[in-house]
């Protein structure tokens, strides 16, 4: 096509194209014109291609954790408006409302505040016992992370707690009294309380930054980087289907429309189960399957608090009347292979958030009620490491 007139050019389709001839550009000004055409995108001036020209992906591999910790932008802060179920809808056609969840919310205090965005906290740090258990059983690069967890868990708040106890409460413990006598500067903790608190906050922030560098917070479903390390990324959150009313009062199967209060589904009428009510947090779709498989089969015990929060929101009416939580027992061979009972982990996450309050008139079969309260978990055969 060299030498074709700039005025018109005949193409193979039979149309006559007028204007700039592409062959002229290719043969003469290829590099320069290419540079001008894409320089805006390369420099980030084109706002549409900002995400495509992110410099975080060209960093050296050794700097990638640092880049991920500082330069990640997507996070789980979706809007608080009603979330419509995405994708082909099978059973739920009503918009799913999201309620605000607090980190320490009781079952009765969960208010369905639609205007506020949901706050889902995910704890990426394991307990000391879990860290040790994983250390002993899995020789992998997770060693460094576990060491940081262990150190941060042990450094956290211990000196501050002692100082606070001395400053605010009458000294009752003899050991603490001896310690306070030996260190008179700490006994006058009123002057030291504020700087100690500031120091501890700074230490915790530094520890958090260290954790983010060592283990950047990722979405548990798609492993996209998260800004604040909480919950799912926005794309996975939009695909998640929370189960909301209307649903069957017995089985918790979501209805396509609201048939009225207390109406049962056909399955509950045809095959009534032995239990009274069943509630579920989410539908078992792709995102939920990914969460559950990560939780069960890849030792992602850090997902338990997040999943437990969702379960508490779905079963707040059950938990408000419950006396005890019982995890479904696991066979001992599977428990040995998996090293934990996933149901027990979920129940423990619920118990730690103190959402279950025994009823005031709960029948007590123990001899001493205090002994019953001291029991950390309900005894249930083969309940696992609850």
């Amino acid at each position: 096509m060299q030498g074709t007139s700039l005025i018109s050019q005949a193409s193979a389709t039979g149309f006559t194209v007028s204007g700039v001839c592409a062959t002229t550009i290719k043969s003469i000004l290829l590099a320069l014109i290419n540079s001008f055409a894409t320089s805006a995108a390369r420099l980030g001036l084109d706002w549409l291609s900002l995400t495509m020209t992110s410099t975080a992906w060209v960093w050296l591999p050794i700097l990638m954790p640092l880049a991920t910790a500082f330069l990640n932008s997507p996070s789980t802060k979706p809007s608080g408006s009603a979330k419509i179920a995405s994708g082909p809808v099978d059973g739920v056609t009503n918009p799913i409302l999201m309620a605000r969840l607090c980190a320490r919310s009781t079952a009765g205090a969960i208010a369905s505040n639609v205007a506020a965005p949901p706050v889902f906290r995910i704890c990426r740090r394991l307990a000391v016992s879990e860290s040790f258990a994983l250390c002993m059983t899995s020789p992998s690069p997770i060693w460094s992370f576990l060491a940081i967890c262990w150190i941060s868990n042990h450094l956290k708040w211990q000196p501050v707690c002692k100082a606070r106890r001395i400053a605010t409460e009458p000294v009752e413990n003899a050991a603490v009294q001896r310690w306070a006598t030996a260190m008179p500067m700490m006994a006058t903790g009123n002057q030291l309380r504020a700087p100690i608190a500031r120091t501890s906050v700074a230490l915790r922030r530094a520890g958090r930054l260290l954790l983010d560098i060592a283990q950047p917070p990722l979405c548990p479903s798609c492993r996209a980087p998260l800004g604040d390390g909480a919950g799912l990324c926005a794309a996975c959150w939009s695909k998640l289907s929370l189960i909301e009313p209307p649903y069957c009062a017995r089985l918790g199967i979501p209805f396509a429309y609201d048939p009225g209060p207390g109406l049962l589904s056909m399955e509950a009428i045809a095959n009534p189960p032995a239990y009274d009510r069943a509630r579920a947090a989410v539908r078992y779709d792709d995102i939920a399957r990914q969460l559950v498989t990560s939780f069960k089969y890849t030792d992602r015990l850090d997902l338990a608090p997040m999943m437990g929060h969702w379960m508490a929101r779905a079963g707040r009416e059950l938990l408000g009347q419950a006396d005890a939580l019982l995890p479904v027992p696991l066979h001992w061979r599977r428990l040995w292979a998996r090293r934990f009972n996933q149901s027990a982990a979920l129940a423990r996450a619920r118990r730690r958030s103190r959402s279950v309050c025994p009823r005031p008139n709960a029948p007590t079969t123990c001899k001493a009620p205090s002994a019953c309260r001291r029991r950390k978990r309900p005894r249930w055969p083969a309940a696992g490491w609850c």
Binding site: G252, Y275, R277, R279, L326, V328
Partner: protein, 58 residues
């Protein structure tokens, strides 16, 4: 269920916790065992449940 375990659950409102509820057979068996042991009410709270797609007759 042993006698001391029966005493723990007798007359109580219990909530069974599980991760996935597919057909409900597992939690149904557990609920039957607990009800035989004297539990007052047994509820089930799971993280995810399988919801069968609705087949609309044409």
């Amino acid at each position: 269920m042993p006698a001391e375990e029966k005493a723990q659950v007798a007359g109580r409102r219990l909530v069974l916790i599980d991760d996935v509820l597919t057909s409900g057979a597992t939690v149904d068996t557990c609920a039957r065992a607990l009800l035989r042991a004297g539990a007052a009410h047994v509820d089930v709270l799971v993280f995810a449940r399988v919801v069968a797609p609705v087949r609309t007759p044409i």
